[in-house]
Symmetry: C2
């Protein structure tokens, strides 16, 4: 197995990427192929006291930034880490591509170089979300691969999420819910009413709607969301979590008595931060492409890349891409119509 | 001025409603008309040591619950507090209607009994949202009156929000942003791209898109949201705030040392809760109807009803409804086509 890693993706690349790779490579049998300017990557490997095993470098001289137009950058920068990574998946030289780079460029590159699995209408970004109270994590998708949505896309998100969670966790019939404005059947706009019906009549373990308030308190394995609402859900949660934690930090260190209290309670506050720490979630798979792509948050440190490499091994071993292909062929009339690229964000 | 109050709306009605009314009535010159079963309301007034001034009772024997189908309940229950309240606004016997009852029934009753202001395509529920760091509050609309959205609806939400905030706060040119998946122009689905253009070419002080993460950190006066995303935004924020605060509470009281720390920091934690306490926001106006309706949260206590009555006085004095009517007549081609009722949730 070859795990292809974008050495230049993310705010702290290449140092933190290589650091994570060195740590992971010492623990696995697979090969990590780091894409990036060869000399620079070598230097980082040395700085991180690489033991000489399980890492290869493939030279890539260009980088696509978040500021560039994704589709244009993918067309122009043939020697970029993202374009080279996608081409390695396509040619079979790599089994999975991990990147902390531009989500737009990963989607554009994935769609134009790898293409969608036949019958899949839109790829979806899937991300693990923590739960409060109940143990475990919930897979949310789509987290923003498509901002336009149709009922069939949401139906396919449910199917892809089910295959992914079964493959990764071994659960037999993971529970699936639809993010909606109310819990009862019949709630929502036309899009969500129609998606509800499709999910309900599908073979997956669909358990109905879930309101945004209850996602974090629930124990649903998979929550299907249209890409626009999914983006709003994640970013609203992120904003509020950070706002409340910031207020606690400020308030607890205001005044001598409170400061004393805060010092005593400090270790507990660290525990809470860890509860909402996605580091070990190991990245967000982009599902529905003819190849396994794992997007890591742009502000990731070495620990995120370390975990992503470990998760990538499970991802490839579970053959998620093959299973999605097989399932879509079996359960759906394969739609061969030409569609827009879907890289609409 | 007559402020009509739904005595039977909300989880703690009529006791908490009447308690709030007694407290507010002692401080204002206007009359509060409480709708509800006369004997029961009288009993509550006595229990709350009403001084005999500024409160009238209008008998209403029925109540519409959250479990009923809103439109059907409004048609059937002619003697319900909500139907009577709307009729009092229509006939001029009341100037504003405050209710903690079913949002669906308030919308259905508002649309069928009062009707929309000519030219307004959809009413909008507007709610004040707290800010972290920067002082003040942000008006969010639509918070779920319509789950289907069109660009023109969002445009009108911006106009109604502008009129409301100018009327209530006296600000000259309140800032308006559009909730979207990215901050730059050109982001989002067709709905939000088209809404962006309409808002940009409107007379209001439109400042572009805002991402869900940044609403709480910003200082925008008004954020326009489609009703579906608006619902997701509010409920995601609510869920996360409550999850993080719950975790803090648990963690801070775990173990003797932390418990001691928590006791010292306790007053500060109360401060934080107050920051996110909507009580004094005084309810969410339903804008766009031919009458002033103020929805109060179903789980409100007397303090929320007390503040809502005070805010209602400002609302009526600012003649928000008249100003929306005037503005829509001036700025928009009045659209007289027959539309669906809009009570689609």
């Amino acid at each position: 197995m070859k795990i292809v890693l974008d050495g230049m993706g993310g705010d702290y690349s290449p140092d933190e990427v290589v650091k994570g790779a060195v740590r992971a490579a010492a623990e696995i049998d697979e090969t990590v192929v780091i894409l990036g300017p060869e000399a620079k990557i070598k230097e980082c490997l040395e700085a991180n006291k690489w033991n000489g095993n399980n890492i290869e470098i493939v030279d890539a001289t260009e980088v696509i930034t978040n500021e560039e137009h994704p589709a244009m950058a993918v067309r122009k920068k043939k020697d970029s880490t993202i374009v080279k990574g996608m081409n390695m998946l396509k040619s079979g030289e790599g089994d999975i591509f991990i990147s902390g780079g531009s989500t737009g460029a990963l989607l554009a590159g994935g769609l134009t170089i790898l293409g969608r699995i036949k019958g899949i209408k839109r790829p979806a970004i899937a991300a693990w979300f923590p739960r409060a109270g109940k143990k475990g994590v919930t897979l949310l998708l789509d987290c923003g691969a498509s901002v336009e949505a149709k009922p069939e896309y949401l139906h396919q998100y449910g199917i892809m999420g089910d295959i992914f969670v079964r493959g990764i966790t071994g659960k037999i019939a993971p529970t699936v819910r639809l993010l909606n404005v109310g819990a009862e059947e019949g709630k929502g706009d036309t899009l969500h009413k129609e998606a509800f019906d499709l999910l309900k009549n599908s073979y997956i373990n669909f358990c109905g709607n879930v309101e945004a308030r209850d996602v974090i308190y629930g124990d649903t394995d998979i929550v299907v969301m249209d890409g626009f609402s999914g983006n709003v859900y994640l970013k609203a949660s992120e904003g509020m979590a950070s706002a409340v934690m910031g207020l606690f930090k400020n308030k607890l260190t205001e005044g001598i008595k409170a400061k004393f209290g805060a010092l005593l309670a400090y270790s507990k506050i660290k525990d809470i931060k860890n509860t909402f720490d996605y580091s070990d979630a190991g990245g967000a798979p982009i599902l529905g492409l003819k190849g396994a792509v794992l997007k890591v948050h742009g502000n990731s440190r070495s620990v995120e890349f370390y975990y992503a490499i470990h998760r990538a091994v499970d991802y490839v071993n579970s053959d998620i891409t093959g299973k999605i292909k097989e399932t879509i062929e079996k359960t759906q009339t394969v739609n061969t119509e030409t569609e827009e690229s879907g890289a609409d964000e």
